[in-house]
């Protein structure tokens, strides 16, 4: 299957990646080549074959469902470009983003 410019525009929006208008066409060509190449998988008979869900043939341990970490708001915020420190306005301790509610 080949991807056209509109499809690339649509998946770029789904992936939230801005792609300049003049890059859409060449990108459609590149992605179509890759998709065309992976489509050789259609030659493989997979009727009745279970899709792999875990690469390791073992049961992984589960931890107890308890809170065992946390209380590090300052650390969590430390790498944000824009955040309100824990001791800041309105109680602070949050990331800031462009306004989403008018």
């Amino acid at each position: 299957m080949s991807l056209d410019k509109d499809t690339v525009r649509k998946i770029a929006f789904l992936a939230r990646i801005r792609v300049p208008e003049d890059a859409l066409e060449p990108l459609a060509g590149e992605l179509s080549n890759i998709i065309g190449w992976v489509e050789q998988l259609s030659e493989v008979e997979t009727e009745g074959v279970e899709p792999m869900t875990s690469v390791a043939d073992m049961t992984w341990p589960r931890r107890d469902d308890v809170v065992n970490d946390g209380g590090m708001a300052e650390d969590v915020l430390a790498n944000a470009t824009d955040s309100e420190p824990v001791s800041g306005e309105e109680g602070g301790g949050f990331f800031t983003v462009p306004k989403v509610v008018e």
Binding site: T7, L14, R18, E30, W37, V38, V44, P51, N79
Partner: protein, 490 residues
């Protein structure tokens, strides 16, 4: 370069123990080599102060009569995909600008606990996506090996900076990560040992995620014994990674020299590629003879779905990447490019922050997971993956280990294969199948091509049977007697 740069981990540990030199001397020699080899662009961040301070601690421990084992005081490089406390961690991407974790990945913490000394963070393909180390935001890495007429070559990828640093005698060893061949292929290109353990052997906690069902950390070293020593330190169960195996880590060096007498080695018929240089086939045959002459029995086996591993990988890995990389949104860390709305901010940040190969893979992943295509691509690929794993399972009913070439070519020039993504993907044609099945595998330097460039041989073993893998690799290494070294390190 001083003699201190050319030691194995084993020899350096002995030198430290015997008091021939201190960790501070050993570390200083490596810092000097790191600074002298600026041209390779192997490091994104150098940490000489951290290195010297950890070396000093190591010397103090030793002076007080205690050590933390065979890696105490050993200078290593760390792929810049491992989060390191207080040290910039970039994944080779613009989108992680300025990201300085407040925590340490489990694997690098294990190395720190064992006394290893971090020299710096090595360059890599952006988010470990690449086979030539040419997609890094911080520029390509040059191999210390040179092509005809002194041409600059790629070190392979994605762990290209780690491979270049170890081959150029800048670090005694380095950490890498391998999703489809990112440790083994650069090891083959640079004439060193690169090992990917069984999926689950090393914790993925604190490693920047690419494709979570495939990613594994492993060592890049100059000898098989060093790989066994280093994996022993890196590996172990970790409650912070839910796919970390609750299995004890054996002493991988214990039976290393046990030999291959009576071992059954499978030679898979399907590991050839049109246009592959005859010398790779010849080396593969040579490897078979080397093992047979030491008492192993080599038999041909068939892994019928081999040719479908790479296309299946290029559905599964981008799908997982598109999900993992959703976290880079400009809100919590790294680059933010402003926009008028939240969506516009996301789009602007990700549009500017991701390089072309990462963008390509995120878009492919988004496409194959999108409504209407999920079954046709993603589920189909996961079914094929089951068949690939079954091929290996059946083969391992008869044989103990498999021998293949590591890569279909030697290193190529920087700039080659850049305009055809699929041609670049074919670099990993022999390493991807083991990744898809979660199996341990290793590349051992085994010979040179007609231009004097290194070629590796590749071994694959059963899940959690790293001991057989190392033992066979040691036998190959012994027979190959590879002692060529890059011009940059002579």
């Amino acid at each position: 370069m001083s003699a201190l740069n050319d030691l194995t981990i084993g020899a350096a540990a002995k030198g430290l123990e015997d008091g021939d030199f201190s960790s501070q001397e050993l570390t200083a020699a490596h810092i000097e080599a790191m600074n002298a080899a600026q041209d390779l662009n192997a490091f994104i961040t150098k940490t000489p102060d951290i290195a010297l301070s950890r070396a000093k601690d190591s010397d103090a421990r030793r002076a007080g009569g205690t050590t933390t084992g065979p890696m105490d005081g050993i200078p290593i490089a760390v792929k810049d995909l491992f989060c390191t406390e207080g040290v910039l961690t970039t994944a080779g991407s613009h989108i992680l600008d300025g990201f300085t974790p407040s925590y340490e990945s489990t694997v690098t913490q294990n190395l720190r606990n064992a006394g290893a000394v971090m020299l710096g963070k090595t360059n890599l393909d952006e988010f470990a996506m690449g086979s030539a180390n040419v997609t890094s935001y911080y520029g390509p890495v040059k191999s210390p090996w040179k092509g005809k007429g002194g041409k600059d070559l790629v070190p392979g990828g994605s762990s290209g900076g780690s491979a270049a640093a170890v081959a150029a005698r800048i670090a005694l060893a380095a950490t890498g990560t391998d999703t489809g061949g990112s440790i083994r292929q650069p090891a083959s290109f640079t004439g060193i040992v690169g090992m990917k353990p069984t999926y689950g052997r090393c914790s993925r906690w604190g490693i920047v995620a690419f494709a979570s069902s495939l990613d594994q950390a492993g060592p890049l070293t100059r000898t098989v014994e060093d790989a066994a020593i280093m994996l022993g330190v890196m590996a172990g169960h970790d409650a912070k990674d839910s796919t970390s195996a609750p299995i004890d880590v054996p002493d991988f060096t214990a039976d290393l020299k046990g030999g291959v007498r009576g071992l059954k080695v499978g030679i898979p018929n399907e590991y050839t590629l049109d246009g592959m240089p005859a010398e790779i086939d010849a080396l593969w045959n040579q490897g078979r003879n080397w093992l047979e002459s030491q008492g192993a029995e080599c038999v041909e086996v068939s892994l019928p779905h081999t040719k479908y591993a790479l296309p299946a990988y290029y559905i599964v890995a981008p799908a997982e990447a598109s999900s993992n990389l959703a976290r880079y949104d400009g809100v919590r860390y790294g680059l933010r490019v402003d926009g008028d709305s939240l969506d516009e901010m996301y789009e602007a940040t990700r549009g500017e922050g991701f390089g072309e190969e990462v963008r390509r893979r995120v878009l492919i992943g988004t496409y194959v997971l999108s409504a209407g295509y999920y079954d046709a691509y993603y589920i189909k690929a996961q079914r094929v993956r089951t068949l690939i794993a079954d091929d290996f399972r059946k083969a391992f009913e008869d044989v103990d280990v498999l021998l293949t070439p590591t890569a279909p070519s030697a290193a190529f020039a920087i700039g080659e294969k850049m305009d055809d993504p699929v041609a670049m993907y074919l670099n990993d044609v022999f390493t991807v199948p083991a990744s898809m099945a979660g199996l341990p595998a290793i590349s051992v330097p085994a010979g040179l091509d007609k231009d004097g460039l290194p070629l590796g041989l590749h071994l694959i073993a059963k899940p959690f049977d790293e001991e057989t893998l190392f033992r066979t690799a040691h036998a190959l290494e012994d027979a190959a007697g590879f002692d060529a070294r890059p011009g940059g390190a002579s």
